[in-house]
Protein backbone atom coordinates (compact mmCIF):
# COMPACT_ATOMS: atom_id res chain seq x y z
CA UNK A 1 0.00 0.00 0.00
CA UNK A 2 1.31 3.41 -0.82
CA UNK A 3 -0.27 5.58 1.81
CA UNK A 4 2.28 7.79 3.44
CA UNK A 5 1.34 10.32 6.06
CA UNK A 6 -1.06 12.56 4.22
CA UNK A 7 1.20 15.52 3.50
CA UNK A 8 -0.36 18.83 3.13
CA UNK A 9 -3.83 18.10 1.94
CA UNK A 10 -5.73 21.34 1.93
CA UNK A 11 -8.51 20.54 4.32
CA UNK A 12 -12.04 21.01 3.13
CA UNK A 13 -15.04 20.21 5.21
CA UNK A 14 -18.36 19.08 3.95
CA UNK A 15 -21.39 20.77 5.32
CA UNK A 16 -24.10 18.68 6.87
CA UNK A 17 -26.60 18.13 4.07
CA UNK A 18 -29.00 20.73 5.36
CA UNK A 19 -31.32 23.10 3.56
CA UNK A 20 -28.38 25.47 3.14
CA UNK A 21 -26.57 22.94 0.98
CA UNK A 22 -29.62 22.49 -1.20
CA UNK A 23 -29.88 26.26 -1.60
CA UNK A 24 -26.25 26.44 -2.64
CA UNK A 25 -26.90 23.77 -5.23
CA UNK A 26 -29.94 25.66 -6.54
CA UNK A 27 -27.85 28.82 -6.77
CA UNK A 28 -25.07 27.02 -8.60
CA UNK A 29 -27.38 25.58 -11.24
CA UNK A 30 -28.96 29.02 -11.63
CA UNK A 31 -25.59 30.76 -11.99
CA UNK A 32 -24.45 28.23 -14.54
CA UNK A 33 -27.45 29.08 -16.74
CA UNK A 34 -26.62 32.77 -16.53
CA UNK A 35 -22.93 32.27 -17.29
CA UNK A 36 -23.70 30.05 -20.26
CA UNK A 37 -26.22 32.58 -21.54
CA UNK A 38 -23.80 35.47 -21.10
CA UNK A 39 -21.04 33.67 -23.00
CA UNK A 40 -23.26 32.75 -25.91
CA UNK A 41 -23.47 36.05 -27.78
CA UNK A 42 -24.85 34.35 -30.84
CA UNK A 43 -27.81 32.99 -28.88
CA UNK A 44 -28.60 36.47 -27.55
CA UNK A 45 -28.42 37.93 -31.03
CA UNK A 46 -30.49 35.25 -32.76
CA UNK A 47 -33.12 35.31 -30.05
CA UNK A 48 -33.56 39.05 -30.58
CA UNK A 49 -33.79 38.82 -34.35
CA UNK A 50 -37.09 36.97 -34.30
CA UNK A 51 -39.10 39.40 -32.15
CA UNK A 52 -37.73 42.34 -34.13
CA UNK A 53 -38.80 40.69 -37.40
CA UNK A 54 -42.26 40.01 -36.04
CA UNK A 55 -42.68 43.45 -34.58
CA UNK A 56 -41.40 45.60 -37.42
CA UNK A 57 -41.65 43.51 -40.57
CA UNK A 58 -44.77 41.43 -39.91
CA UNK A 59 -46.27 44.21 -37.80
CA UNK A 60 -45.77 46.84 -40.46
CA UNK A 61 -46.66 44.56 -43.34
CA UNK A 62 -49.90 43.30 -41.85
CA UNK A 63 -50.96 46.77 -40.75
CA UNK A 64 -51.62 47.62 -44.43
CA UNK A 65 -54.48 45.12 -44.55
CA UNK A 66 -55.81 45.68 -41.06
CA UNK A 67 -55.97 49.44 -41.63
CA UNK A 68 -59.51 49.16 -42.92
CA UNK A 69 -60.52 47.22 -39.82
CA UNK A 70 -60.92 48.31 -36.22
CA UNK A 71 -57.21 48.92 -35.71
CA UNK A 72 -56.93 52.16 -37.59
CA UNK A 73 -53.22 52.73 -37.99
CA UNK A 74 -50.06 50.71 -38.49
CA UNK A 75 -48.64 52.06 -35.31
CA UNK A 76 -51.72 50.82 -33.48
CA UNK A 77 -51.36 47.31 -34.85
CA UNK A 78 -47.76 47.17 -33.68
CA UNK A 79 -48.89 48.43 -30.28
CA UNK A 80 -51.49 45.68 -30.25
CA UNK A 81 -49.07 42.84 -30.98
CA UNK A 82 -46.27 44.22 -28.78
CA UNK A 83 -47.29 42.37 -25.57
CA UNK A 84 -47.68 39.23 -27.68
CA UNK A 85 -44.16 39.61 -29.03
CA UNK A 86 -42.77 40.10 -25.52
CA UNK A 87 -44.63 36.93 -24.48
CA UNK A 88 -43.21 35.14 -27.51
CA UNK A 89 -39.68 36.12 -26.49
CA UNK A 90 -40.26 34.75 -22.99
CA UNK A 91 -41.85 31.59 -24.40
CA UNK A 92 -39.06 30.71 -26.83
CA UNK A 93 -36.28 31.53 -24.42
CA UNK A 94 -37.85 29.69 -21.48
CA UNK A 95 -38.54 26.54 -23.49
CA UNK A 96 -35.08 26.64 -25.03
CA UNK A 97 -33.45 26.92 -21.60
CA UNK A 98 -35.50 24.09 -20.18
CA UNK A 99 -34.92 21.83 -23.13
CA UNK A 100 -31.17 22.53 -22.92
CA UNK A 101 -31.22 19.88 -20.21
CA UNK A 102 -31.31 17.43 -23.10
CA UNK A 103 -27.98 18.86 -24.28
CA UNK A 104 -26.68 18.49 -20.74
CA UNK A 105 -27.74 14.87 -20.89
CA UNK A 106 -26.09 14.35 -24.28
CA UNK A 107 -22.80 16.03 -23.30
CA UNK A 108 -22.59 14.58 -19.84
CA UNK A 109 -22.89 17.49 -17.42
CA UNK A 110 -26.34 16.32 -16.33
CA UNK A 111 -24.67 13.21 -14.99
CA UNK A 112 -22.27 15.31 -12.91
CA UNK A 113 -25.30 17.01 -11.36
CA UNK A 114 -27.33 13.82 -10.91
CA UNK A 115 -24.59 12.00 -8.99
CA UNK A 116 -24.05 14.87 -6.53
CA UNK A 117 -25.33 14.32 -2.99
CA UNK A 118 -28.22 16.73 -3.38
CA UNK A 119 -31.91 16.43 -4.05
CA UNK A 120 -33.06 16.25 -7.65
CA UNK A 121 -35.66 18.86 -6.79
CA UNK A 122 -32.85 21.34 -6.13
CA UNK A 123 -31.58 20.76 -9.65
CA UNK A 124 -35.04 21.26 -11.10
CA UNK A 125 -35.56 24.44 -9.08
CA UNK A 126 -32.16 25.83 -10.06
CA UNK A 127 -32.67 25.05 -13.72
CA UNK A 128 -36.12 26.60 -13.58
CA UNK A 129 -34.85 29.74 -11.87
CA UNK A 130 -32.00 30.01 -14.38
CA UNK A 131 -34.21 29.54 -17.43
CA UNK A 132 -36.75 32.02 -16.09
CA UNK A 133 -34.07 34.63 -15.39
CA UNK A 134 -32.61 34.31 -18.87
CA UNK A 135 -36.06 34.50 -20.46
CA UNK A 136 -36.95 37.60 -18.46
CA UNK A 137 -33.65 39.26 -19.39
CA UNK A 138 -34.27 38.65 -23.08
CA UNK A 139 -37.79 40.00 -22.88
CA UNK A 140 -36.46 43.05 -21.05
CA UNK A 141 -34.36 43.88 -24.09
CA UNK A 142 -37.50 43.78 -26.24
CA UNK A 143 -39.26 45.97 -23.70
CA UNK A 144 -36.72 48.70 -24.44
CA UNK A 145 -38.21 48.92 -27.96
CA UNK A 146 -41.64 49.87 -26.64
CA UNK A 147 -41.42 53.64 -27.42
CA UNK A 148 -40.91 52.71 -31.09
CA UNK A 149 -44.37 51.12 -31.19
CA UNK A 150 -46.22 53.95 -29.47
CA UNK A 151 -45.93 52.87 -25.85
CA UNK A 152 -44.35 55.60 -23.72
CA UNK A 153 -41.89 54.56 -21.01
CA UNK A 154 -43.40 54.61 -17.57
CA UNK A 155 -42.07 53.14 -14.35
CA UNK A 156 -45.38 51.66 -13.12
CA UNK A 157 -46.01 49.97 -16.48
CA UNK A 158 -42.47 48.61 -16.49
CA UNK A 159 -42.86 47.16 -13.00
CA UNK A 160 -46.17 45.50 -13.87
CA UNK A 161 -44.83 44.05 -17.12
CA UNK A 162 -41.64 42.74 -15.52
CA UNK A 163 -43.64 41.11 -12.75
CA UNK A 164 -45.91 39.43 -15.28
CA UNK A 165 -42.93 38.40 -17.37
CA UNK A 166 -41.27 36.73 -14.37
CA UNK A 167 -44.43 34.75 -13.55
CA UNK A 168 -44.81 33.68 -17.15
CA UNK A 169 -41.11 32.82 -17.47
CA UNK A 170 -41.14 30.57 -14.40
CA UNK A 171 -44.32 28.78 -15.51
CA UNK A 172 -43.08 28.24 -19.07
CA UNK A 173 -39.65 27.03 -17.98
CA UNK A 174 -41.32 24.56 -15.64
CA UNK A 175 -43.51 23.43 -18.52
CA UNK A 176 -40.42 23.02 -20.68
CA UNK A 177 -38.78 20.91 -17.96
CA UNK A 178 -41.74 18.53 -18.02
CA UNK A 179 -41.23 18.14 -21.77
CA UNK A 180 -37.46 17.76 -21.40
CA UNK A 181 -37.67 15.11 -18.69
CA UNK A 182 -38.74 12.45 -21.17
CA UNK A 183 -36.61 13.61 -24.08
CA UNK A 184 -33.58 11.44 -24.78
CA UNK A 185 -32.18 13.07 -27.87
CA UNK A 186 -31.44 16.53 -29.12
CA UNK A 187 -33.51 15.95 -32.27
CA UNK A 188 -36.70 15.92 -30.21
CA UNK A 189 -36.29 19.66 -29.80
CA UNK A 190 -37.72 20.19 -33.29
CA UNK A 191 -40.78 18.16 -32.34
CA UNK A 192 -41.34 20.30 -29.28
CA UNK A 193 -41.00 23.46 -31.37
CA UNK A 194 -43.51 22.31 -34.00
CA UNK A 195 -46.09 20.65 -31.79
CA UNK A 196 -45.90 22.61 -28.56
CA UNK A 197 -44.19 25.97 -28.82
CA UNK A 198 -45.59 27.24 -32.11
CA UNK A 199 -49.20 26.16 -31.38
CA UNK A 200 -48.94 27.79 -27.97
CA UNK A 201 -47.74 30.99 -29.56
CA UNK A 202 -50.38 31.10 -32.31
CA UNK A 203 -53.27 30.23 -30.00
CA UNK A 204 -52.30 32.68 -27.28
CA UNK A 205 -53.76 35.79 -28.86
CA UNK A 206 -50.30 37.23 -29.30
CA UNK A 207 -51.15 38.31 -32.85
CA UNK A 208 -54.96 38.67 -32.86
CA UNK A 209 -57.77 39.39 -30.38
CA UNK A 210 -59.36 36.31 -28.84
CA UNK A 211 -62.91 37.48 -29.40
CA UNK A 212 -65.40 36.70 -32.16
CA UNK A 213 -63.48 33.58 -33.20
CA UNK A 214 -65.08 30.34 -34.44
CA UNK A 215 -66.08 28.06 -31.61
CA UNK A 216 -63.32 25.44 -32.13
CA UNK A 217 -60.66 28.13 -32.10
CA UNK A 218 -62.15 29.81 -29.05
CA UNK A 219 -61.94 26.53 -27.13
CA UNK A 220 -58.33 25.95 -28.18
CA UNK A 221 -57.25 29.46 -27.21
CA UNK A 222 -58.78 29.03 -23.76
CA UNK A 223 -56.79 25.80 -23.30
CA UNK A 224 -53.51 27.55 -24.12
CA UNK A 225 -51.66 28.50 -20.92
CA UNK A 226 -49.95 31.36 -22.74
CA UNK A 227 -53.32 33.10 -23.33
CA UNK A 228 -53.54 33.77 -19.62
CA UNK A 229 -50.12 35.41 -19.65
CA UNK A 230 -50.57 37.54 -22.79
CA UNK A 231 -53.89 39.10 -21.78
CA UNK A 232 -52.72 40.72 -18.51
CA UNK A 233 -49.72 42.23 -20.30
CA UNK A 234 -51.92 43.55 -23.08
CA UNK A 235 -54.28 45.12 -20.58
CA UNK A 236 -51.40 46.81 -18.80
CA UNK A 237 -50.03 48.17 -22.08
CA UNK A 238 -53.44 49.41 -23.27
CA UNK A 239 -54.09 51.15 -19.98
CA UNK A 240 -50.94 53.18 -20.49
CA UNK A 241 -51.59 54.32 -24.04
CA UNK A 242 -53.57 57.36 -25.12
CA UNK A 243 -56.22 55.35 -26.89
CA UNK A 244 -56.99 52.93 -24.07
CA UNK A 245 -60.75 52.95 -24.59
CA UNK A 246 -60.40 52.30 -28.30
CA UNK A 247 -58.17 49.28 -27.73
CA UNK A 248 -60.48 47.93 -25.05
CA UNK A 249 -63.32 47.96 -27.54
CA UNK A 250 -61.48 45.97 -30.22
CA UNK A 251 -59.88 43.53 -27.82
CA UNK A 252 -62.02 42.99 -24.75
CA UNK A 253 -59.75 40.14 -23.66
CA UNK A 254 -60.19 36.66 -22.27
CA UNK A 255 -63.52 35.37 -21.06
CA UNK A 256 -64.92 32.05 -19.87
CA UNK A 257 -68.50 31.51 -21.04
CA UNK A 258 -69.03 35.22 -21.27
CA UNK A 259 -67.35 36.01 -17.94
CA UNK A 260 -64.55 38.54 -18.42
CA UNK A 261 -61.62 37.19 -16.39
CA UNK A 262 -60.09 39.60 -13.89
CA UNK A 263 -56.30 40.00 -14.13
CA UNK A 264 -55.94 38.28 -10.76
CA UNK A 265 -57.65 35.15 -12.04
CA UNK A 266 -55.57 35.12 -15.22
CA UNK A 267 -52.34 35.42 -13.28
CA UNK A 268 -53.66 32.80 -10.86
CA UNK A 269 -54.06 30.41 -13.78
CA UNK A 270 -50.44 31.09 -14.82
CA UNK A 271 -49.17 30.48 -11.26
CA UNK A 272 -51.24 27.31 -10.96
CA UNK A 273 -49.97 25.91 -14.27
CA UNK A 274 -46.41 26.77 -13.26
CA UNK A 275 -46.74 25.12 -9.85
CA UNK A 276 -48.28 21.96 -11.28
CA UNK A 277 -45.64 21.76 -14.01
CA UNK A 278 -42.86 22.25 -11.47
CA UNK A 279 -44.32 19.49 -9.32
CA UNK A 280 -44.53 17.10 -12.27
CA UNK A 281 -40.98 17.98 -13.36
CA UNK A 282 -39.65 17.23 -9.87
CA UNK A 283 -41.44 13.90 -9.75
CA UNK A 284 -40.13 12.98 -13.19
CA UNK A 285 -36.52 13.85 -12.39
CA UNK A 286 -36.77 12.01 -9.08
CA UNK A 287 -37.37 8.74 -10.85
CA UNK A 288 -34.33 6.46 -10.63
CA UNK A 289 -32.65 6.03 -13.99
Amino acid sequence: MTTTAAHDVAAVRLAGGAARDELRAVRMVWRRELIRFGRNRLRILTSLAQPVLFLFVLGTGLSTIVRGGPVTSGSNFRTFIFPGIVAMTVLFSAIFSAVSIVWDREFGFLREMLVAPIRRSSLVLGKCAGGATVATLQALIILVLSPLVGIPFSAPLLIILVGEMVLMAVALTALGMVLAARMQQVESFQVVMQFVVLPMFFLSGALFPLTGLPRWLTVLTRLDPLSYAVDPMRRAVFAHTTSAAHFASISPGLSWFGWRLPVGVELGVVVLIGAVALGIAIVQFNRPD
Binding site: M1, T2, T3, T4, A6, H7, D8, V9, A10, A11, V12, R13, L14, A15, G16, G17, D21, R24, A25, R27, M28, R31, R32, I35, R36, R39, N40, F107, G108, F109, R111, E112, M113, V115, A116, P117, I118, P288, D289
Partner: protein
Protein backbone atom coordinates in the same frame (compact mmCIF):
# COMPACT_ATOMS: atom_id res chain seq x y z
CA UNK B 1 -22.40 10.23 11.70
CA UNK B 2 -22.32 6.48 12.27
CA UNK B 3 -21.46 4.25 9.33
CA UNK B 4 -22.84 0.83 8.57
CA UNK B 5 -19.64 -1.10 8.27
CA UNK B 6 -16.03 -1.63 9.18
CA UNK B 7 -14.41 1.79 8.94
CA UNK B 8 -10.96 0.36 8.13
CA UNK B 9 -12.40 -0.87 4.85
CA UNK B 10 -13.01 1.57 2.04
CA UNK B 11 -15.16 -0.90 0.12
CA UNK B 12 -16.81 -4.10 1.26
CA UNK B 13 -18.85 -6.11 -1.24
CA UNK B 14 -20.80 -9.31 -0.57
CA UNK B 15 -22.43 -11.36 -3.32
CA UNK B 16 -23.21 -8.27 -5.34
CA UNK B 17 -25.40 -9.00 -8.33
CA UNK B 18 -26.99 -7.05 -11.16
CA UNK B 19 -29.35 -8.58 -13.66
CA UNK B 20 -30.89 -6.94 -16.69
CA UNK B 21 -33.69 -9.35 -17.43
CA UNK B 22 -31.99 -12.61 -18.31
CA UNK B 23 -28.53 -11.10 -18.59
CA UNK B 24 -26.41 -11.34 -15.45
CA UNK B 25 -24.09 -8.36 -15.91
CA UNK B 26 -22.61 -8.91 -12.45
CA UNK B 27 -23.03 -12.40 -11.11
CA UNK B 28 -22.34 -12.44 -7.37
CA UNK B 29 -19.00 -10.77 -6.66
CA UNK B 30 -17.41 -10.38 -3.21
CA UNK B 31 -14.27 -8.47 -2.26
CA UNK B 32 -12.84 -5.93 0.14
CA UNK B 33 -10.68 -2.88 -0.44
CA UNK B 34 -8.64 -1.48 2.45
CA UNK B 35 -8.40 2.22 3.19
CA UNK B 36 -5.53 3.74 1.19
CA UNK B 37 -5.29 0.88 -1.27
CA UNK B 38 -5.26 1.21 -5.05
CA UNK B 39 -7.51 -1.53 -6.31
CA UNK B 40 -8.08 -2.41 -9.94
CA UNK B 41 -10.78 -4.27 -11.77
CA UNK B 42 -9.23 -5.87 -14.81
CA UNK B 43 -11.29 -7.45 -17.52
CA UNK B 44 -12.49 -7.19 -21.09
CA UNK B 45 -15.26 -4.80 -22.09
CA UNK B 46 -18.61 -6.20 -21.09
CA UNK B 47 -17.17 -8.21 -18.20
CA UNK B 48 -19.21 -6.28 -15.65
CA UNK B 49 -16.62 -3.71 -14.53
CA UNK B 50 -18.67 -0.61 -15.25
CA UNK B 51 -21.84 -2.14 -13.86
CA UNK B 52 -20.05 -2.96 -10.60
CA UNK B 53 -18.62 0.54 -10.35
CA UNK B 54 -22.06 2.01 -11.04
CA UNK B 55 -23.53 0.05 -8.16
CA UNK B 56 -20.71 1.06 -5.80
CA UNK B 57 -21.29 4.71 -6.78
CA UNK B 58 -25.04 4.37 -6.08
CA UNK B 59 -25.88 4.97 -9.75
CA UNK B 60 -27.34 1.53 -10.32
CA UNK B 61 -29.35 -0.51 -7.86
CA UNK B 62 -28.03 -4.00 -7.15
CA UNK B 63 -30.52 -6.81 -7.75
CA UNK B 64 -28.83 -8.84 -5.04
CA UNK B 65 -26.09 -8.76 -2.42
CA UNK B 66 -24.74 -5.86 -0.47
CA UNK B 67 -22.04 -3.20 -0.78
CA UNK B 68 -20.66 -0.77 1.78
CA UNK B 69 -18.56 2.14 0.50
CA UNK B 70 -16.72 4.57 2.81
CA UNK B 71 -18.67 3.03 5.69
CA UNK B 72 -22.16 3.39 4.24
CA UNK B 73 -24.53 1.03 2.49
CA UNK B 74 -24.86 1.97 -1.17
CA UNK B 75 -28.61 1.34 -1.25
CA UNK B 76 -29.77 2.63 2.11
CA UNK B 77 -27.42 5.60 2.54
CA UNK B 78 -26.96 6.88 -0.97
CA UNK B 79 -26.32 10.52 -0.12
CA UNK B 80 -23.74 9.61 2.56
CA UNK B 81 -21.87 7.44 0.06
CA UNK B 82 -22.00 10.10 -2.64
CA UNK B 83 -20.58 12.76 -0.34
CA UNK B 84 -17.53 10.57 0.32
CA UNK B 85 -16.66 9.38 -3.16
CA UNK B 86 -15.16 11.02 -6.21
CA UNK B 87 -16.12 9.85 -9.67
CA UNK B 88 -14.40 9.99 -13.01
CA UNK B 89 -16.48 8.48 -15.76
CA UNK B 90 -15.46 7.01 -19.08
CA UNK B 91 -17.28 9.77 -20.94
CA UNK B 92 -16.52 13.34 -20.03
CA UNK B 93 -19.04 15.11 -17.82
CA UNK B 94 -17.46 18.56 -17.85
CA UNK B 95 -19.31 21.68 -18.95
CA UNK B 96 -17.52 22.81 -22.10
CA UNK B 97 -18.80 26.34 -21.86
CA UNK B 98 -17.38 26.92 -18.39
CA UNK B 99 -13.76 27.54 -17.47
CA UNK B 100 -11.69 24.86 -15.77
CA UNK B 101 -11.93 26.51 -12.36
CA UNK B 102 -15.66 27.18 -12.75
CA UNK B 103 -16.21 23.47 -13.34
CA UNK B 104 -14.34 22.69 -10.13
CA UNK B 105 -15.99 25.41 -8.05
CA UNK B 106 -19.44 24.36 -9.22
CA UNK B 107 -18.59 20.82 -8.20
CA UNK B 108 -17.62 22.08 -4.74
CA UNK B 109 -20.96 23.89 -4.51
CA UNK B 110 -22.87 20.75 -5.47
CA UNK B 111 -21.03 18.73 -2.84
CA UNK B 112 -21.51 21.31 -0.12
CA UNK B 113 -17.81 21.96 0.40
CA UNK B 114 -17.38 24.75 2.95
CA UNK B 115 -15.93 27.96 1.58
CA UNK B 116 -13.09 28.10 4.09
CA UNK B 117 -10.06 26.56 2.45
CA UNK B 118 -11.84 26.17 -0.87
CA UNK B 119 -9.44 28.39 -2.83
CA UNK B 120 -6.44 26.53 -1.49
CA UNK B 121 -8.00 23.21 -2.35
CA UNK B 122 -8.76 24.44 -5.86
CA UNK B 123 -5.13 25.43 -6.38
CA UNK B 124 -3.87 22.20 -4.87
CA UNK B 125 -5.88 19.83 -7.04
CA UNK B 126 -5.26 21.87 -10.18
CA UNK B 127 -1.52 21.96 -9.55
CA UNK B 128 -1.61 18.24 -8.93
CA UNK B 129 -2.85 17.63 -12.47
CA UNK B 130 -0.75 20.43 -13.96
CA UNK B 131 -3.63 22.65 -15.00
CA UNK B 132 -3.30 25.58 -12.60
CA UNK B 133 -1.97 27.79 -15.41
CA UNK B 134 -5.00 26.96 -17.54
CA UNK B 135 -7.60 27.52 -14.81
CA UNK B 136 -9.23 30.41 -16.66
CA UNK B 137 -9.44 28.57 -19.99
CA UNK B 138 -12.74 27.35 -21.39
CA UNK B 139 -12.92 23.56 -21.20
CA UNK B 140 -14.03 23.58 -24.85
CA UNK B 141 -10.46 24.47 -25.81
CA UNK B 142 -8.89 21.57 -23.83
CA UNK B 143 -7.45 18.38 -25.32
CA UNK B 144 -8.78 14.95 -24.36
CA UNK B 145 -5.93 14.38 -21.92
CA UNK B 146 -6.39 17.77 -20.26
CA UNK B 147 -10.10 17.10 -19.84
CA UNK B 148 -9.43 13.76 -18.19
CA UNK B 149 -6.91 15.39 -15.82
CA UNK B 150 -9.40 18.10 -15.00
CA UNK B 151 -12.04 15.49 -14.24
CA UNK B 152 -9.65 13.73 -11.87
CA UNK B 153 -8.98 17.07 -10.15
CA UNK B 154 -12.71 17.69 -9.92
CA UNK B 155 -13.28 14.28 -8.41
CA UNK B 156 -10.85 15.26 -5.66
CA UNK B 157 -12.30 18.71 -4.90
CA UNK B 158 -14.45 17.49 -2.00
CA UNK B 159 -11.63 15.33 -0.54
CA UNK B 160 -13.40 12.00 -1.04
CA UNK B 161 -12.36 8.87 0.82
CA UNK B 162 -12.64 6.76 -2.31
CA UNK B 163 -11.91 7.90 -5.84
CA UNK B 164 -13.53 5.83 -8.57
CA UNK B 165 -11.86 5.92 -11.96
CA UNK B 166 -13.80 4.11 -14.65
CA UNK B 167 -11.30 3.40 -17.45
CA UNK B 168 -9.32 6.57 -16.65
CA UNK B 169 -7.23 6.49 -19.80
CA UNK B 170 -9.53 4.95 -22.38
CA UNK B 171 -9.42 6.72 -25.72
CA UNK B 172 -6.16 8.55 -24.98
CA UNK B 173 -2.88 8.14 -26.82
CA UNK B 174 -0.08 6.17 -25.09
CA UNK B 175 1.91 9.27 -24.14
CA UNK B 176 -1.10 10.94 -22.54
CA UNK B 177 -1.96 7.69 -20.79
CA UNK B 178 1.42 7.52 -19.13
CA UNK B 179 1.06 11.20 -18.15
CA UNK B 180 -2.27 10.49 -16.49
CA UNK B 181 -0.66 7.67 -14.58
CA UNK B 182 2.11 9.93 -13.35
CA UNK B 183 -0.57 12.19 -11.93
CA UNK B 184 -2.49 9.32 -10.36
CA UNK B 185 0.67 7.96 -8.72
CA UNK B 186 1.54 11.39 -7.41
CA UNK B 187 -1.98 11.66 -6.04
CA UNK B 188 -1.53 8.37 -4.19
CA UNK B 189 1.56 9.74 -2.53
CA UNK B 190 0.00 13.06 -1.58
CA UNK B 191 -3.45 12.17 -0.36
CA UNK B 192 -4.70 9.49 1.96
CA UNK B 193 -7.12 8.15 -0.57
CA UNK B 194 -8.42 4.83 -1.76
CA UNK B 195 -8.49 4.47 -5.53
CA UNK B 196 -10.81 2.02 -7.23
CA UNK B 197 -10.29 1.77 -10.94
CA UNK B 198 -11.37 -0.35 -13.84
CA UNK B 199 -9.24 -1.01 -16.85
CA UNK B 200 -8.82 -3.38 -19.71
CA UNK B 201 -5.18 -2.40 -20.19
CA UNK B 202 -2.77 -4.91 -18.65
CA UNK B 203 0.00 -2.38 -18.16
CA UNK B 204 -2.31 -0.15 -16.15
CA UNK B 205 -3.29 -2.95 -13.85
CA UNK B 206 0.41 -3.23 -12.93
CA UNK B 207 0.09 0.12 -11.12
CA UNK B 208 -2.44 -1.29 -8.65
CA UNK B 209 -1.71 -2.64 -5.19
CA UNK B 210 -4.17 -5.44 -5.86
CA UNK B 211 -6.26 -6.42 -8.82
CA UNK B 212 -9.35 -8.48 -9.34
CA UNK B 213 -9.66 -10.21 -12.68
CA UNK B 214 -13.27 -10.19 -13.75
CA UNK B 215 -14.77 -12.13 -16.63
CA UNK B 216 -18.38 -12.86 -17.48
CA UNK B 217 -19.67 -10.98 -14.43
CA UNK B 218 -17.61 -13.03 -11.96
CA UNK B 219 -14.35 -12.43 -10.16
CA UNK B 220 -11.88 -15.05 -11.30
CA UNK B 221 -9.01 -14.21 -8.98
CA UNK B 222 -7.84 -11.40 -6.66
CA UNK B 223 -4.25 -10.72 -5.58
CA UNK B 224 -1.28 -8.40 -6.04
CA UNK B 225 0.01 -8.29 -9.63
CA UNK B 226 3.32 -9.82 -8.50
CA UNK B 227 1.67 -12.70 -6.67
CA UNK B 228 -0.62 -13.40 -9.61
CA UNK B 229 2.31 -13.60 -11.99
CA UNK B 230 4.44 -15.63 -9.56
CA UNK B 231 1.59 -18.06 -9.08
CA UNK B 232 1.72 -19.02 -12.73
CA UNK B 233 5.35 -20.08 -12.29
CA UNK B 234 5.72 -20.82 -15.97
CA UNK B 235 7.03 -18.92 -18.92
CA UNK B 236 4.95 -18.08 -21.90
CA UNK B 237 6.07 -19.58 -25.20
CA UNK B 238 4.71 -18.42 -28.52
CA UNK B 239 5.56 -20.51 -31.55
CA UNK B 240 4.84 -19.67 -35.17
CA UNK B 241 4.72 -22.72 -37.39
CA UNK B 242 3.72 -23.79 -40.88
CA UNK B 243 0.99 -26.04 -39.50
CA UNK B 244 -0.51 -24.81 -36.24
CA UNK B 245 -2.97 -27.69 -35.96
CA UNK B 246 -0.25 -30.31 -36.23
CA UNK B 247 1.95 -28.35 -33.81
CA UNK B 248 -0.78 -28.24 -31.19
CA UNK B 249 -1.42 -31.98 -31.59
CA UNK B 250 2.31 -32.63 -31.34
CA UNK B 251 2.72 -30.53 -28.19
CA UNK B 252 -0.01 -32.51 -26.50
CA UNK B 253 1.30 -35.89 -27.65
CA UNK B 254 5.02 -35.38 -27.10
CA UNK B 255 5.03 -33.06 -24.06
CA UNK B 256 1.54 -33.20 -22.61
CA UNK B 257 1.19 -29.43 -23.08
CA UNK B 258 -2.17 -27.78 -23.72
CA UNK B 259 -1.65 -25.03 -26.29
CA UNK B 260 -4.03 -22.44 -27.65
CA UNK B 261 -4.01 -20.44 -30.82
CA UNK B 262 -3.84 -16.78 -29.92
CA UNK B 263 -3.19 -13.92 -32.30
CA UNK B 264 -1.70 -16.20 -34.93
CA UNK B 265 0.72 -18.00 -32.62
CA UNK B 266 0.57 -21.34 -30.86
CA UNK B 267 0.83 -20.30 -27.23
CA UNK B 268 1.51 -22.43 -24.17
CA UNK B 269 3.02 -22.16 -20.73
CA UNK B 270 5.91 -24.24 -19.49
CA UNK B 271 8.38 -24.06 -16.62
CA UNK B 272 11.91 -23.10 -17.73
CA UNK B 273 10.80 -21.89 -21.14
CA UNK B 274 14.27 -21.12 -22.52
CA UNK B 275 15.59 -24.60 -21.70
CA UNK B 276 12.51 -26.05 -23.37
CA UNK B 277 13.23 -24.50 -26.78
CA UNK B 278 15.96 -26.98 -27.90
CA UNK B 279 13.68 -29.91 -27.03
CA UNK B 280 10.92 -28.28 -28.97
CA UNK B 281 13.04 -28.15 -32.13
CA UNK B 282 14.32 -31.70 -31.63
CA UNK B 283 11.03 -33.40 -30.95
CA UNK B 284 8.23 -31.42 -32.56
CA UNK B 285 8.06 -32.60 -36.16
CA UNK B 286 6.50 -29.46 -37.56
CA UNK B 287 8.50 -26.71 -39.34
CA UNK B 288 8.94 -23.83 -36.85
CA UNK B 289 9.32 -20.28 -38.15
CA UNK B 290 9.89 -18.44 -34.89
CA UNK B 291 9.81 -18.91 -31.13
CA UNK B 292 9.32 -16.30 -28.42
CA UNK B 293 9.73 -16.93 -24.72
CA UNK B 294 8.56 -14.36 -22.17
CA UNK B 295 8.15 -14.10 -18.42
CA UNK B 296 4.52 -14.27 -17.35
CA UNK B 297 2.56 -11.04 -17.68
CA UNK B 298 -0.90 -10.18 -16.45
CA UNK B 299 -2.03 -11.24 -19.88
CA UNK B 300 -0.86 -14.74 -19.04
CA UNK B 301 -2.57 -14.52 -15.68
CA UNK B 302 -5.76 -13.60 -17.45
CA UNK B 303 -5.26 -16.42 -19.92
CA UNK B 304 -4.43 -18.96 -17.23
CA UNK B 305 -7.66 -18.19 -15.45
CA UNK B 306 -10.03 -17.69 -18.37
CA UNK B 307 -8.47 -19.69 -21.19
CA UNK B 308 -8.13 -16.74 -23.57
CA UNK B 309 -6.29 -13.46 -23.88
CA UNK B 310 -8.03 -10.25 -22.97
CA UNK B 311 -7.86 -9.12 -26.60
CA UNK B 312 -9.59 -12.29 -27.77
CA UNK B 313 -12.22 -11.74 -25.10
CA UNK B 314 -12.67 -8.18 -26.32
CA UNK B 315 -13.08 -9.34 -29.89
CA UNK B 316 -15.76 -11.87 -29.06
CA UNK B 317 -17.59 -9.44 -26.80
CA UNK B 318 -17.46 -6.84 -29.57
CA UNK B 319 -19.16 -9.35 -31.87
CA UNK B 320 -21.82 -10.02 -29.28
CA UNK B 321 -22.39 -6.32 -28.82
CA UNK B 322 -22.63 -5.74 -32.54
CA UNK B 323 -25.25 -8.47 -32.75
CA UNK B 324 -27.33 -6.98 -30.00
CA UNK B 325 -27.95 -3.23 -29.99
CA UNK B 326 -29.44 -3.57 -26.50
CA UNK B 327 -26.07 -4.37 -25.01
CA UNK B 328 -24.73 -1.02 -26.09
CA UNK B 329 -27.75 0.77 -24.75
CA UNK B 330 -27.54 -1.06 -21.46
CA UNK B 331 -23.87 -0.21 -21.09
CA UNK B 332 -24.34 3.47 -21.78
CA UNK B 333 -26.71 3.71 -18.88
Amino acid sequence: MPGDGDSALAVKVEDLEKRYGEIRAVDGVSFEVAQGETFGFLGPNGAGKSTTISMLCTLARPTGGRAVVAGFDVVKRRAEVRRRIGLVFQDTTLDDYLTASENLLFHAELYGVQRTGLDRRLQQVMEMVGLWDRRGGLVRTFSGGMKRRLEIARGLMHSPRVLFLDEPTVGLDPQTRSHIWNYINQLRRQEDITIFLTTHYMDEAEHCDRIAIIDGGRIVVIDTPEALKARIGKDRVEVRTDDDEAAMRGLLREFGLEATLSEGAVTFHVAGGEEFVPRLFAELRVPIRSVRVSRPTLDDVFMAHTGRTIRDAEASSAERNAASPWMRAARRR
